[in-house]
Subunit: 248 residues, 2 copies
């Protein structure tokens, strides 16, 4: 883990800003809001950002890299709550209880913008718009959580896997506008199992079925979806709605 305190990239030019917290703010409010950020943190793949039970003293915006948010269960398993991508806003806790209910681990090398929690009090009193920007982010995460819950609770393994792959593919596509057909995909089949409540063995069987149907290509940390509409049908989700939810 490495801290960067000097020559920080400017928020107004930030590549992920439009999908991040500050994307919800007008440019002329950015000057005030920028005071929130204290420094950047670089975390190597596999290291924890924070642990369940820690007290939150900083909120983060992911600047680059993927993060897995999860809970450890008593039986030794873990439940992945979601995968967080660049632009996602983590660890904001303003209630009296600052104890974190889950852990976070870097799936690839991750760079974070850090915002000390206590600064939010003063900045929000001067700039109430920031509170609404945070609400907007929270509402989006909650809506995504609702669709994940729906997928996990009431669909088959094939639909669940298709849903997760398509969601992540759409999000990464928006963030990374290269013309290459593959997007980075730094998670294992076991991660997918832990996120969906399936065994990695069954995830593997579903992968093969999806490959055979020509719906996905996935190897060496890369993913390509040749026909998003077809995969959406298997995922039992409306593609336009999913695009609204993931590409915002």
């Amino acid at each position: 883990m490495k801290s960067i305190t000097q020559n920080l990239p400017k928020c107004q030019d930030c590549a992920v800003r439009k999908s991040a917290l500050f994307g919800e703010l007008e440019t002329d409010h950015l000057n005030k809001a920028r005071e929130l950020r204290s420094h950047q943190i670089v975390i190597p793949a596999g290291e924890h950002l924070y642990h369940e039970g820690d007290e939150s003293d900083k909120a983060f915006t992911i600047y680059s890299g993927w993060v897995s948010l999860f809970k450890n269960l008593e039986d030794g398993n873990r439940q992945i709550l979601r995968f967080a991508l660049p632009g996602d806003f983590l660890c904001y806790k303003m209630g009296k209880n600052k104890t974190l209910d889950h852990s976070a681990i870097a799936l690839s090398e991750v760079t974070l913008c850090a915002f000390p929690i206590d600064r939010f009090h003063t900045v929000i009193s001067e700039l109430p718009e920031l509170a609404f920007a945070i609400s907007a982010m929270t509402e989006l995460v909650t809506e995504r959580c609702h669709t994940v819950l729906t997928s996990i609770a009431s669909h088959t393994a094939e639909a669940k896997v298709a849903y997760l792959l398509l969601s992540l593919y759409l999000r990464e596509r928006v963030l990374n506008k290269t013309e290459e057909k593959c997007v980075q995909f730094p998670i294992t089949q076991e991660d997918i199992g832990d996120a969906l409540g399936l065994t990695s063995i069954h995830v593997n069987r579903v992968f093969q079925s999806l490959r055979k149907q020509g719906l996905i290509e996935c190897k060496s940390k890369c993913l390509w979806v040749p026909d998003k509409a077809k995969l959406a049908v298997v995922a039992k989700v409306s593609l336009p709605e999913l695009e609204r939810l993931m590409c915002k």
Copy 2:
């Protein structure tokens, strides 16, 4: 549906205040915050509070009664996202997108305190504490959602049902301090199935198993849990943690 605009109950004496939004505020902030409320609404059992796709123009605090929040699926099924009880804060949307992603229906007769959304802008600029109070409520709901996701994704039907019953029992116990052993429980086995992604038939079989083990008594819209600790074991959850999450 009936509106009440006069002789509204006073917020400072409200029985559910401590578990509601205003419970997060100091008493001397209540005077300002109280301006938020426009009126109360009474909704008979079975009627909608709002529909998926509606634009949110009011937020609500449930004053009495139970509410089911759900999404309708293409196949005709529905996914219940959560059951909302007195004190719960619904429908607060401050992002640009005000479209609601789910519907809500009254499970029993419900009384709501209504807060027009546009009033939050002015009140929060004058009283930033309100923004933090709302954050605190949101954080609690999110943590509960995480535990539900965990239960649904990775436990057996028996554990899921036990988890849901225990959660609701604990919440209702805090709200209603009568000495009677039963608490009101205005949901059907089918509702439970729709919340957990199980068929009502299988929920029924689980109910019978739990009854045979002496873990629950449940009939005619009433629920009693003789031994919360034992049910928590079946639910695969730590009772103290669940109590913190549900009784706050």
